[in-house]
Point group: C2
Chain length 364, copies 2
C-alpha cells in the first residue's frame, strides 16, 4: 500500500494574505483566499494534468528567469479515493523515468509536497485523494524535473476542486516542494505553471513577470542531455561568493538584453545574451565533461547562443529553425562524446506557452 500522510488542517478557513510591501506603493496582486469556500467539494472524481520541462537561468538570468519547453514533462493523475483518509493524500503509483528512485511518501515526493500545500490552501478536510505520477523527465538533468512534478500536482489538485487558486498560489505551493529538493527558487516552477518565459522579480512579496514572446516568431530550443549526474548542490557550491563590478555590470546588461530580446522576439539577440554569462557558466561548465566543447560546437553549427540549462548537465542552444536545430543537436551530441566521453541525446523543442494544465477529467 502506498504511504500516506496527513497535514494539520488549519483551525479556521485558510487565509493567505500578503502584508509585506517592498515599498509604499507596489502593484502586486494581493492574494486573499479568505473568500474561498473552506473545504470545497471536488467537481471531478479524477483529473489528469501535465506540466512541461523548463529551462532555468538562461545564462545571465541566473536564479530569476526561466522558460517552459513543449512536448516533454511530467503527468499527474489525481482521483477522489474513499480508501484514503479524508484530508489526506496517497501516492498510489509512480511510473516513467527512474521512477524507482522516488519516494511514495508524499512528504518526500515533489508532487506530494505540492499537492499537500494546495490541499492546505483549500482547507480540504472531507475527501481523501490518490495520486499517480508519471515521470516524463529524467531526474537531475537540468530540465526542471522536480518542478514539473510539483507543478502538475498543484494544478491537478486545484482543478479537481474547481480551480479556486490562481497562478501565484500554485507557484507558492510548488515552491514548498522546490525548497526541500533544491532551494527556494521559482525559476523552474513559475514557468512550469505559467508557461512561456517568467521573470521572478521578488519573493517577498512574490512578483512574477510573464514575458510574452511574440506568437509570430520562431524559437527552438536544442536540448542535449548527457549521461552524467550534475548534482544541484555541487553546481551551486561552484558559484563565486563575490563578483567584480565589471562582471556584475556585464551580466546585468546581458540580463536586460535577454529580457528585451524575449519581448521583442529577437531570437539572435536572445541567443547572444543567453551565451554571454561571465559569472555562473564559466564556473559550472568545467564540471560537466565536454560542456565547453559542446557550446563551441553549437555556435559553430549556427546556434544563436548556448549555455547550461538550469544547473546542468543539459546544454541548451537556441535557433529559429527546427531543421537547423536538429543539425546543431547532432554536433552537440558528437562534442559531448568526443570531448566529454559522454553519451548524450538531443531534442529540439519550442516554447511551451501554456504551462501546467488539465489534460483530462472525469465525473464518473
Amino acid at each position: 500500500m502506498a504511504a500516506t500522510t496527513c497535514f494539520l488542517s488549519p483551525p479556521s478557513p485558510f487565509i493567505l494574505k500578503r502584508t509585506t510591501f517592498s515599498q509604499p506603493r507596489s502593484n502586486f496582486t494581493i492574494i486573499k483566499c479568505s473568500n474561498l469556500s473552506s473545504d470545497p467539494q471536488p467537481i471531478y472524481t479524477s483529473v489528469k494534468s501535465f506540466a512541461p520541462a523548463t529551462v532555468a537561468n538562461l545564462g545571465p538570468g541566473f536564479d530569476f528567469l526561466g522558460c517552459a519547453v513543449d512536448g516533454i514533462g511530467d503527468t499527474v493523475s489525481i482521483s477522489v479515493d474513499p480508501n484514503v483518509h479524508p484530508g489526506q493524500i496517497s501516492i498510489s503509483h509512480i511510473s516513467g523515468d527512474n521512477s524507482n528512485k522516488l519516494s511514495k511518501n508524499p512528504i518526500y515526493n515533489c508532487a506530494g509536497i505540492a499537492a499537500i500545500e494546495v490541499m492546505k490552501m483549500l482547507s480540504i478536510r472531507s475527501v481523501g485523494l490518490s495520486l499517480q505520477l508519471h515521470k516524463g523527465l529524467p531526474l537531475g538533468s537540468g530540465l526542471g524535473s522536480s518542478a514539473a512534478s510539483a507543478a502538475a500536482a498543484a494544478v491537478a489538485v486545484n482543478e479537481i476542486f474547481g480551480r479556486k487558486l490562481g497562478f501565484e498560489e500554485l507557484v507558492l505551493a510548488s515552491l514548498k516542494s522546490e525548497e526541500k529538493v533544491s532551494g527556494y527558487h521559482a525559476d523552474n516552477v513559475a514557468p512550469a505553471i505559467m508557461g512561456g518565459f517568467v521573470l521572478i522579480q521578488s519573493y517577498e512579496p512574490l512578483n512574477l513577470i510573464n514575458l510574452k514572446f511574440p506568437v509570430d516568431k520562431d524559437l527552438y530550443f536544442v536540448l542535449v542531455t548527457p549521461e552524467f549526474e550534475a548534482p544541484t548542490k555541487k553546481m551551486r557550491a561552484a558559484l563565486p561568493a563575490e563578483i567584480g563590478m565589471p562582471h556584475h555590470v556585464w551580466n546585468c546588461s546581458q540580463a536586460g538584453a535577454l529580457v528585451a530580446s524575449v519581448l521583442q522576439g529577437d531570437v539572435e539577440c536572445l541567443g547572444r545574451a543567453l551565451s554571454s554569462d561571465k559569472i555562473v557558466e564559466p564556473r559550472r561548465a568545467p564540471l560537466i565533461p565536454g560542456m565547453e566543447a559542446v557550446k563551441r560546437a553549437a555556435l559553430q553549427a549556427g546556434a544563436f547562443g548556448c549555455t547550461i540549462s538550469g544547473a546542468g548537465p543539459t546544454a541548451v542552444a537556441v535557433i529559429d529553425n527546427e531543421a537547423k536545430g536538429n543539425i546543431i543537436g547532432q554536433h552537440m551530441v558528437e562534442a559531448f562524446l568526443k570531448d566529454g566521453n559522454l553519451k548524450a541525446s538531443a531534442k529540439v523543442r519550442q516554447l511551451d506557452r501554456l504551462g501546467a494544465r488539465l489534460i483530462s477529467s472525469s465525473k464518473d
Copy 2:
C-alpha cells in the same frame, strides 16, 4: 578669437568596419562607411540641433541603461565658415548655464570633440566649420550635460553634410567625448542621440537596444536638482569593487524587471525596479546630503520609484501623472532643504522619444 584645432585627415576615405565578433553569429548592423563620399560638400550653410537631457543608470541599470527626457537640453549651431581653415572647426560662442566654465578649444570641449570625430568619419577636408553651443543643462548635475553637448554637435555636423551617418556612428563619435570627461560609457550619449530608453548590450562590437516605451502610456520623470556638486569621479570611487552573489542576483533580476516594465509600459513596475538597487545607490546616496530622505519623501508622496539620476546629485522619481509629479517634486525639494540643507529645484518631464535632432537649417 575662438581657439581652433585641426585633426589628421585620414590618407584614404574613412572606413569604419567592424571585425570583432563576440560570437560566430551576431546580429549587429555592420557599419560600413566605405560607400560614403569622402569629403562630402555641405548641403546647408548652417544648421541648429538640439539634444535632450538624459537619465542614466536608472537604479539597477547601472552603466548600461539610460533614457532621454524632454524639454531640457543643449543646442548647437554650426555654420560653414570661410574664416575657419578647411577641415577645422572653431567654437565661436558658448552661452547658457555656467558657460564661462567651458573651454572654447574644441579638443577640450564635449561638443568640439564629438564634432571633430564626425568630421573625421566623413573625411571633411574642404570646408571649415564654426560652432556655437548653448548650454541648457547645468554642468555636473547627473542629467547628461556633457552627453547632450556631444550629441547635439555630432548630429549638427552630420546634418550639415547630408546625414550620411547613422545612430551608431554618432554614438561612437560622442563616446570619444564622454571618454575624456567621464569614461567610456554610452548610457547618456546613446539615449541623447537615439531618444527613448536605450540599453547598451556591448561596446565591442557596439550593440544598442532601443527599448520602446508604449506610446499610449503616461510616464513622468520628476527631476529634482540640488545646489550641490557630486563629481563623477568621487561618485565612481564610492562603488564597491566586489559584490556578493545575493545582491548580484537581486540587481540582475531588477534590471530585467526594469527592461520588461519599459517594454510593457508598466510604470508602477518600472518605479519599483528603479527604486530597488542594492549595490550602487546605497553607496552613493549618503554622499549627497538629504538624498535618502528625498527618496523617502518621493515614495511617501506617491512616486512609484526614486533613485539617483546618473552619478547625481539630481534625484529622479517616476509617476504616471503630471499633477502628481508636481506634488512629488515639492516634497522632494522640501526634503533636500530639511535633511540636506540644500536648495533644490524640481522639474516634471516626459520621455523624449526623438533624441538629438535638427531644429533649423539654412541654405543662405
